[in-house]
């Protein structure tokens, strides 16, 4: 029995073969120099099989309009919403396709080993389509899906013991999305480019293909950036005043304590002065309360994709796209589990002790891991699960990494060890004093057990001492003063803020956030400033303003989040692809016609910003 196995990239194919074979497989060349073929023997359910393992390099096929619609002048743009499409294999992947066809002809079974997420399922169906065309005997009973969340011997063997048919619904959801993106993107891009490319002052803003392009996911992402920018420019600063009390304690211990006003601040100077005068006249302070209560700082939740992206962006200053590229690489090498996951809870009996043990070898966190092993890992449980993959975690110790790969790997390990360890514990003391009718308080913190903080430098918890005064103690504060301040506008969006907004409003999935964020930058609609925060570019502002004038829904998240929700419905079998396609095409066609009719508003807005 010969079985063809196809993975999503060469790295994965190589390592999966290695894991299944428990040793280096035989390697031979395919027709594509980047996708090798690995052969080995394996027993599947008692049957002896020759396993032929190869790979594609991501999507093998793409969709485009039929040739008669590809020319921009060929049809009224609105027809793109209904024009026929065809599936083709791009020239640089022809060799991969021929390799699959050649190998498929000699095999009786096909197993799909693409990444276990939506795109992976869709790529799997492309592989099936190509192989079946070459070898029609590969019918539904002969095509299988391997399910795995990490590239390790146990996961690979497990996958082979539990093969299932591929899930067409998931592939359909992806096909639906990509068709919509093609039609919507093409229609709006043609509209804008054809109307505006001759205008001299817009020329610097066309991309390298000379296009002014549009995507229905990037646009709401850009919308968030513009919205925040506008909030900041509209913001009106206000002066405020507050009273600060400082005291140098000598007894019971020497300490300098700053008290905060319970009123926090007042936005009228006279009111604050009045109260300040009263306090200065009778400045004697009386301790009215000293409460001490246990306080803990929670260890982090198990890591999902969004957390990884946000943490890497904030702490390591690595942007999301790069983080995911590195994570994919670490996964293909069998160092971490599958990095695209929405799960933040570990299943019971997950085998955590073994995973912790792998990290004992580290000279940096080995001691912590050793200690954790003795105490027993106790992960915090989140509430989300995508039923497909566990939270992101390290699989084994990796001593030979360098640069950003090393830093991302380290983040994942430290986060994993932290989540399995214990919350940091301490005591919080709140000292309250009263001066005339005003109350002031100071907070102290004593940390009794650092626990997870010892392995997780990304969280800060700082101790602060407060003297233990007794209630009723009276003193004259060393200093009572009135200070002024001013409110400030919110900050520009950081990448991690933008990801949080996209997640909140349902734009994109954990697999695509990073991509959309990158796209708005490569199209120059927005850029990152020196502080790693997003500002909209002039053309970005013009586009959002212009489309807002036509139909506010375009730059708002609702349209797209509805689309994403419908895609979920296809995945979960609640709706079928044809219905969703028709509904969304009708939606966007309507908006397109509106935009076309009111294109002058877009022109006006772009002019305003590009003068």
């Amino acid at each position: 029995m010969r079985v063809l196995n196809v993975a999503e990239k060469n790295d994965a194919a190589k390592n999966i073969a290695l894991c299944a074979n428990r040793g280096p497989p035989n390697r031979r060349e395919g027709l594509s120099q980047y996708n090798k073929i690995y052969e080995f023997q394996y027993q599947i359910n008692g049957h002896q099989c020759t396993m032929i393992m190869t790979s594609v390099s991501g999507h093998l096929l793409t969709q485009d309009f039929s040739p008669q619609y590809r020319q921009w002048q060929s049809c009224p743009i609105v027809e793109l919403f209904d024009a026929p499409l065809q599936t083709i294999c791009p020239p640089n992947y022809q060799n991969i396709k021929r390799t699959l066809e050649r190998e498929a002809r000699t095999c009786q079974q096909l197993i799909i080993w693409t990444d276990c997420d939506r795109e992976g399922e869709n790529i799997g169906y492309e592989v099936i389509e190509v192989c079946r065309a070459a070898n029609p005997r590969l019918g539904p009973q002969h095509v299988w899906r391997a399910r795995f969340s990490e590239i390790t011997p146990q996961a690979v063997n497990n996958a082979l013991r539990n093969l299932v048919p591929p899930d067409e619904r998931i592939s359909n959801a992806v096909a639906c999305r990509s068709e919509l993106d093609l039609r919507i993107g093409a229609a709006f891009t043609r509209l804008m480019t054809m109307r505006f490319r001759e205008i001299a002052q817009y020329k610097p803003f066309l991309n390298e293909k000379g296009l002014l392009s549009y995507g229905s996911c990037q646009f709401p992402t850009l919308g968030f950036v513009v919205e925040r920018y506008k909030e900041i420019s509209r913001f009106i600063r206000e002066d405020f005043w507050k009273i600060k009390v400082t005291h140098e304690f000598k007894k019971p211990e020497k300490a300098r304590v700053e008290f905060h006003w319970q009123r926090v601040r007042l936005f009228d100077q006279l009111c604050c002065e009045v109260i300040f005068d009263i306090c200065k006249e009778r400045p004697e302070a009386t301790v009215t309360g000293l409460t001490e209560k246990p306080k803990s700082k929670w260890r982090p939740l198990p890591m999902d994709t969004i957390e990884l992206e946000k943490l890497a962006s904030r702490m390591l200053k690595i942007n999301a796209k790069e983080t995911m590229r590195i994570a994919e690489k670490l996964y293909s090498q069998g160092l971490i589990s599958y990095p695209r996951t929405e799960t933040n809870i570990f299943p019971k009996d997950f085998g955590l002790p073994n995973l912790v043990q792998q990290q004992i070898a580290s000279p940096v966190w080995g001691a912590f891991a050793q200690n954790l092993l003795q105490l027993g890992p106790n992960p915090r449980a989140g509430k989300k699960s995508d039923q497909a993959h566990p939270p992101i975690h390290p699989l084994k110790f990796a001593p030979n990494l360098a640069g950003n790969e090393k830093r991302v790997y380290e983040l994942i390990v430290r986060h994993f060890l932290a989540t399995c360890s214990g919350d940091a514990k301490g005591f919080e003391t709140i000292l309250t004093i009263q001066i005339t009718e005003e109350f002031f308080q100071a907070d102290g913190l004593v940390i009794t057990e650092r626990n997870y903080l010892d392995v997780y430098p990304y969280d800060k918890w700082e101790a602060k001492t407060i003297p233990h005064c007794s209630v009723g103690l009276k003193f004259i504060p060393t200093r009572i003063e009135m200070a002024a301040g001013q409110t400030s506008p919110p900050a520009l969006l950081s990448e991690s803020d933008l990801i949080a907004l996209m997640e909140k409003h349902g734009i994109g999935t954990d697999a695509t956030h990073a991509e959309h964020i990158e796209t708005i930058q490569t199209r120059q609609y927005a850029g990152m400033n020196d502080d790693r925060r997003f500002t909209p570019g002039r053309i970005g502002m013009g586009l959002v303003d212009g489309y807002d004038a036509i139909d506010r829904a375009m730059s708002r998240p609702h349209l797209r989040s509805q689309l994403e929700a419908s895609l979920k419905d296809i995945c979960e079998g609640r709706r079928n692809k044809a219905d969703v396609l028709q509904e969304q095409i009708d939606n966007y066609r309507g908006i397109f016609l509106q935009a076309q009719a009111q294109i002058q508003k877009l022109r006006d807005a772009l002019d305003r910003y590009t003068q």
């Binding site: 060469n10 190589k14 390592n15 290695l18 894991c19 428990r22 040793g23 280096p24 359910n45 997420d117 939506r118 009973q141 299988w144 969340s149 390790t152 011997p153 146990q154 063997n157 497990n158 539990n162 093969l163 299932v164 048919p165 998931i170 925040r228 509209r234 009106i236 206000e238 319970q262 009123r263 926090v264 007042l266 936005f267 006279l270 009111c271 009045v274 005068d277 962006s313 090498q333 069998g334 929405e342 299943p347 019971k348 997950f350 085998g351 955590l352 073994n354 995508d386 039923q387 991690s496 803020d497 949080a500 907004l501 409003h505 998240p557 609702h558 989040s561 929700a565 995945c571 079998g573």
Partner: protein, 286 residues
């Protein structure tokens, strides 16, 4: 006229003679629900006190108080009208945005797990700053301790009785709940002129018109769209019936296996793999 005076006295409200005279004039001959005296009181409650002093700026109790700024306590009762009020414990800009429904919640979203999501900055207890008048002179009062009978929605034109002893400093009255009794009433033209949004906008020098004309904020997401996607679906209805090269496992068995086998120990494989990858990389020149 004496009856009107008594009606007021019953409510502990001191009304100057000039005002009583005007009220008496207005009310006699008019029709309405209730006795003449009751209607007089209602008329007073819902009138702008300034309208009683159109001719001249009379000398009222407030005149004396305002002249003598060094006193720290007022010993007499005062019947005043609230022209406008605002909350000085919070920024006016955010208050204004919320009143005209232009506050976008997205401004509170942050990617920092440390900060509690959707919480704006901490504030202390409320402090209302009132602009009061007796019809002739104006004075400000601050809510020194929270007064439950007042709120940001208390309508302009509301009549209040201030009860001594009242603290007084730098020209402002300091009020606690014991210092004030809200009589009631409202005045339409004052409500219009001193609506919260106008009070806040004028304080900030903001273009209220432009703000109101701007697009309403991005609405919060529909919660239903954010449920977590399930990749793994119910599989294989006819799995058991298929003739094929592999004995097909039951879809449910897979689900059960997932939970258990996801970390199944395979120590030999691990030990092997630890060295194997390195060897393989060396051998494979990839």
């Amino acid at each position: 006229m004496q009856q009107i005076k008594n009606e007021f006295r019953k409510r502990n409200v001191q009304v100057p003679e000039e005002v009583l005279a005007v009220l008496h004039q207005e009310i006699t001959g008019s029709r309405g629900v209730g006795t003449l005296e009751q209607r007089a009181v209602e008329l007073w409650k819902n009138a702008d006190l300034r309208s009683f002093y159109q001719a001249h700026a009379a000398s009222t109790p407030l005149t004396k108080i305002l002249q003598n700024k060094s006193t720290t306590k007022i010993g007499e009762s005062l019947c005043l009208q609230i022209d406008s009020l605002r909350d000085v414990s919070r920024p006016a800009y955010q208050q204004l945005q919320k009143v005209i429904n232009r506050f976008g919640e997205n401004v509170l979203v942050t990617g920092d797990a440390e900060t509690a999501p959707n919480k704006s900055e901490p504030t202390g207890k409320r402090m209302l700053l009132l602009n009061l008048t007796d019809g002739s002179k104006d004075i400000q009062a601050m809510e020194y301790q929270v007064i439950k009978t007042l709120s940001i929605d208390t309508p302009p034109g509301t009549k209040v009785r201030l009860i001594p002893p009242i603290m007084f400093r730098k020209g402002i009255l300091l009020l606690t709940s014991e210092n004030i009794h809200v009589i009631g009433g409202q005045v339409a033209c004052l409500q219009e002129k001193f609506a919260q949004k106008r009070v806040l906008a004028s304080l900030l020098n903001a273009d209220l018109d432009a703000m109101e004309k701007a697009a309403p904020p991005c609405p919060p997401p529909n919660q239903a769209t954010n449920s977590v996607v399930g990749l793994r679906q119910v599989v294989v209805q006819n799995a058991g019936n298929q003739q094929n090269g592999f004995d097909d496992p039951d879809g449910d068995a897979f689900l059960a296996n997932v939970a258990v086998n996801w970390g199944e120990d395979d120590p030999d494989a691990d030990a092997f793999l630890a060295g194997a990858l390195d060897d393989f990389d060396r051998l494979s020149q990839n």
